[in-house]
Symmetry: C2
Subunit: 297 residues, 2 copies
């Protein structure tokens, strides 16, 4: 099962009552963090998630509200005893940004590997497979399509048909090749896994809908609640809530969560009725909102 | 009158219930901020102080818990419409640190002037006169001695004795030289002003006591509450509460406030009795603590 948490849901500037937008995905005890604005380390803790389990941080882009929390978060991870490498992925230039920001975090007890991501690059971290895709903002900005695959069931008939000795079945079932036999010789068709698409700080694009097609969850932005703010959204390369719903109508994800609200929108819940009309079941994200996604039976 | 506010009182790592240590001094509508760790912009707002009025930021040193909030704070000041220059003072290298951290805050609508400060350098900002002094930490670190001067009263007898025409009295009283006469020719002896000494992230030093002698307020650190933590304090170049009181005993400030608590000390108020014994009237700082210091009548 995959726990997905919105640690913060604010854009541009933190509010006293709202942290900057970030998301935490946890699968099999491993954490993947998306974005790290100022205060994210506190938002993660408030949400009950573990800083120490974050192995990979995905940065959508390098505006302050998405990266300025990095030095503090890394320092606290170090103070709490992390020793293992942390991977930080983001658009081209990620290494330079991380180097600059960590000028005040010089003595970390773990290494950092920076991975610049271009359109459709994929990286894997434990069970997560992450594909970056370009979105449309005022600077280079990436969305992330995150998948957790699920192997097929063990198929004894197939194992027998392939003439595999019974004593090797368990090893092959564990995914380990042995004596010239390979796991696919004992396993059925792979099954539907889990699929989360994340895209904020962007105008609506066809690629967001393409990536989120049939996703278990699309997390995207609703910087502005009202349709009449569309011009402002265009100017700042953000989206309105109706525009976000337009993407959902194309992609048909199982769930839609909205986040990254303008600081001028203190009560996103005022738009709950609009959302329910445009995309029934869609959710207005809030700090600490969490859901566990499970494999289909 | 001078309003002094501790926006945050934590050291090393922010806690959910405690911001990192920073102080805000406000005099005649102008704000001076000391230190800017992650979350300081929120701590300032929670304390009811204005980000837009901050004209000078004093950095004690460049550890993350004292500077990582700079890009976010500056960005929000910009978003809120600040146009006037902001001065950022700190130890040698301040310009390089600010340049690195603002890599994610590239389009500020105001300029930043960085002022490297050495031992006993003084800078002025509006009515504030700030003298830096070296303290003893694991890296170069400054304390700040802040004074607000107070002119003498207008002295009509002195003005007459100096043969100054009555029509020039008002101008000279406003501190403006006119017709070859100077303001000191109409003013009495200057009076006692206000004096605040700030020193955190340091072992006890004689210079802190020298600077804080007879101060209206000494703000210093009590990273650890108990005397038995003195070895830990020595290792990390911090102070215990009894050591802070030792400085007060030498300096005899009118007020003593303690701040910059270890994250492992969730309840500083447990040491209230110890403080009252060692330095009666001393105060354990807390986020948002504020007091107005007034000129003597």
């Amino acid at each position: 099962m995959l726990d997905v948490t919105l640690c913060g849901t604010g854009g541009t500037t933190p509010r006293i009552d709202r942290h900057l937008s970030s998301a935490y995905l946890r699968f099999d005890g491993h954490g993947l963090l998306i974005d790290c604005g100022e205060g994210t380390q506190i938002a993660v803790k408030k949400a009950g998630m573990s800083l120490g389990k974050i192995g990979t941080i995905l940065l959508t882009h390098f505006h302050g509200d998405h990266v300025a929390g990095l030095p503090g978060l890394l320092l606290t991870m170090g103070n709490e005893g992390r020793k293992e490498k942390v991977t930080i992925a983001g658009p081209k230039g990620v290494a330079e940004i991380v180097k600059a920001l960590t000028v005040c975090a010089q003595e970390l007890p773990f290494s950092i590997e920076c991975v610049p991501m271009a359109d459709f690059d994929t990286l894997t971290y434990k069970d997560f497979s992450v594909t970056a895709f370009e979105v449309y903002h005022t600077c280079p900005c990436l969305g992330y399509d995150i998948r957790i695959s699920r192997a097929g069931r063990f198929d004894p008939d197939k194992a027998k048909a392939n003439g595999i000795p019974v004593k090797l079945w368990k090893t092959l079932q564990q995914g380990i090749p042995v004596d010239g036999f390979t796991p696919d010789m004992v396993m059925g068709e792979s099954r539907r896994g889990l699929h989360v698409t994340y895209a904020t700080d962007t105008r609506p694009t066809d690629m967001i809908a393409t990536m989120a097609t049939d996703a278990d969850l699309l997390i995207t932005e609703a910087m502005f609640g009202e349709e009449k703010k569309e011009n402002r959204a265009k100017e700042t390369c953000h989206m309105t809530l109706p525009e976000a719903c337009g993407i959902a109508k194309e992609a048909m994800p199982k769930r839609l969560w909205l986040t990254h609200y303008s600081p001028s929108m203190p009560e996103p819940e005022l738009y709950a009725e609009t959302l329910e009309k445009l995309w029934p079941g869609g959710k207005l994200g809030y700090d600490g909102m969490t859901e566990t996604l499970r494999f289909e039976e």
